[in-house]
Symmetry: C2
Subunit: 212 residues, 2 copies
């Protein structure tokens, strides 16, 4: 297959609906996309399945993956490791699938540094008022919880200036189609068509030589 897949990282505020968008995108275009599954050392929760929510690893095994450079990025939260296994992502890309990774900004920027062709997408509600509304939820949360969520939203957007696209999630289907259009168009970037261009130029040169 000649088409190389694109690695895309999707981040966004809690309450932005990014998980739902990704799920719908894969349902709608299963032949185009693959979802990356993270590895973690935390224990599975009831209902979670190996290889679906996470690949569950022992600490020893995870640290071996770090040593082997087998992770695109990893981080430690609250005594647990979380990371992105490299093999699966690169394998799917080689098969022409665009691989979608849902992680936060700091991890995404690390990946972009190593793989500059990565596309970074940030999902946001249409306005601050709408974010507040979604975080307040059904009005059953305490003001402290809401304040915490909004403080976390501030942290979740640190570094967003370095992202490629800002996707405003107003209406789900429109948003899914927009993400799909963005990724399809990314394939028409000149930087991703260098082989086509070089081949074309070579033929123009050969023609000029052969005929003159």
């Amino acid at each position: 297959m000649s088409k190389q897949g694109i690695l895309t990282v999707v981040s966004g505020f809690s309450g932005s609906g990014k998980g739902t968008i990704m799920k719908r995108l894969l349902e709608k275009y299963p032949q185009n996309y693959a979802l990356s599954v993270s590895a973690t050392t935390r224990a599975p929760r009831p209902g979670e399945e190996e290889g679906r929510e996470y690949f569950f690893k022992s600490v020893e095994c995870f640290e071996q993956m770090i040593k082997d450079d087998a992770l695109l990025e990893y981080a430690r939260y609250v005594n647990n490791y979380y990371g992105t296994p490299k093999d699966y992502v690169l394998g799917q890309m080689a098969q022409g699938k665009d691989v979608i990774l849902e992680i936060e900004i700091q991890g995404a920027l690390k990946i972009k540094q190593k793989y500059p062709d990565t596309v970074l997408l940030f999902v946001t509600p249409p306005s601050f008022a709408e974010l507040e509304k979604r975080l307040v939820g059904r009005g059953t949360e305490t003001p402290e919880v809401i304040r915490d969520r909004l403080r976390r939203a501030g942290e979740e957007s640190l570094g967003v200036e370095n992202y490629d696209y800002l996707v405003i999630n107003d209406e789900l289907e429109a948003c899914v189609d927009q993400v799909h259009a963005i990724l399809q168009n990314e394939h028409t970037k000149v930087s991703r068509k260098i082989d086509f261009i070089n081949d074309f130029k070579l033929q123009l040169e050969q023609y000029a030589k052969g005929e003159n």
Copy 2:
């Protein structure tokens, strides 16, 4: 209107069909786009209309525009000046229209240097063989003419590596829709949403301050 238009330069091989694509794009989405009209010192040809094909200028007038920095770019071919009047382009962009400019690569790269937000699109037939076929035309051209055209194609693609998008013109309507999708998606670039992001961040900060 809060949306700022995008400046787009479309270049491509003679025979790539770029003129037809642009014409169709404007027919299909007249509310989104405006076509930039060049100024020139060459004499109008029969059927050409002032302000439609070109703005026809005297040499004195054109040189005054150069002095006044009233052109986005200009060049001299065969004793005639050709250039892009700045006023019209920037005015349309301020009104939220995406302005499309059809010029060759060297002029486009000059514009991109001055206005880094400019989107550069190169239109190509799907293959070298197809370009050759189109340039050969109906078989009525001499081998010399065809050779000249292919040599010019080599020149027309010099610098294309610096472009943003490569659009393959296989089927007209699909190609028009692709150009439209590319330009619509460009509006979701983080670099074009800085006001939205800063406004959002300000509100998050104010909330954090007010509540703590």
